[in-house]
Symmetry: C3
Subunit: 124 residues, 3 copies
């Protein structure tokens, strides 16, 4: 699955796109982002402020512009944020859908966009 | 599986409860919390100070009361902590038990309790 | 799989070692570290500065020497770093290899070495 991001930093809900790929009744769904400056998280997407708060928090913990890697590529903070958040998530499948809680959404975290991001969905 | 938490913030060892649900000899166990203000971690539970230190660390990194979401719900920091820690963990099964190291325990992290928390255990 | 680490803190690329254990064409690979002061991350290993930056970041967020657990064992910060980073990762397998992106490497994070670390690889 390809997700086109539009901003330098952005959080995109991919729950329904992943659900549309599920053809089995029950199982486990692995979602994997093939990048070192993007991540996956699960949290609320009903109040959009949570995603704004989250990008702000990441900037406070991991500030831009002070890393050795910045001399080569300028995106050191994005690599560090992605290392902490991870790029792989597993969610149970029940009734052919991700078995998420009422407030949970699966989201791609773009940390160095805009880019085309490859998301691999594997079902077992 | 339902876990009733008793405090605003609390870390509860659920290793033996998950072990009691395992009926296969070998495999992978996915443990998934269906909430946006709770998480799962694996670490030591022998010295209870590690869990106290961990809740203190989270409060230092992600302070209460300064987030946009707080205007709606007052629990912005809990959502952010949960987004960083994650709600899904996979552990190998060997001899019908979680194949944990000597010092490892699987723990539910309550970040906005007390509540009833739903933990989904899936075995493959 | 046993990985011998050589320093107090160190990041070791284990991608090729895990690849050498994969005998199936397709699936999911779970990699699990059986320790409470070590972790796994996926990120770039081409510029070695990213790993240096990452250990520095962890020290800034989670400083040494101020934790209750330090009175017992002196390695409180290592436990906390490991709790945040996690000890379990899942990666899709395609063509009998970890299906990583061009810049992604699977790495063991030693936080309280040098030690012998047990890494469990399970394929489904």
């Amino acid at each position: 699955m390809i997700i086109k991001t539009k901003s330098k930093e952005e959080i995109i809900d991919i729950t329904s796109k992943v659900n549309s790929l599920i053809k089995v009744e029950k199982g486990i769904c692995n979602i994997f982002v093939k990048h070192t400056t993007a991540s996956l998280i699960i949290n609320e997407n009903y109040d959009p402020n949570i995603c704004k708060d989250f990008l702000k928090l990441l900037d406070e913990i991991i500030p831009q512009g002070k890393w050795l890697h910045d001399k080569i590529d300028g995106n050191g903070a994005a690599h560090l944020k992605s290392s902490i958040l991870g790029c792989s998530v597993n969610i149970p499948i029940v009734e052919s859908k991700l078995f998420l809680g009422k407030w949970q959404a699966l989201m791609l975290v773009e940390l160095d966009g805009p880019r085309e991001r490859v998301v691999v969905v594997t079902i077992k």
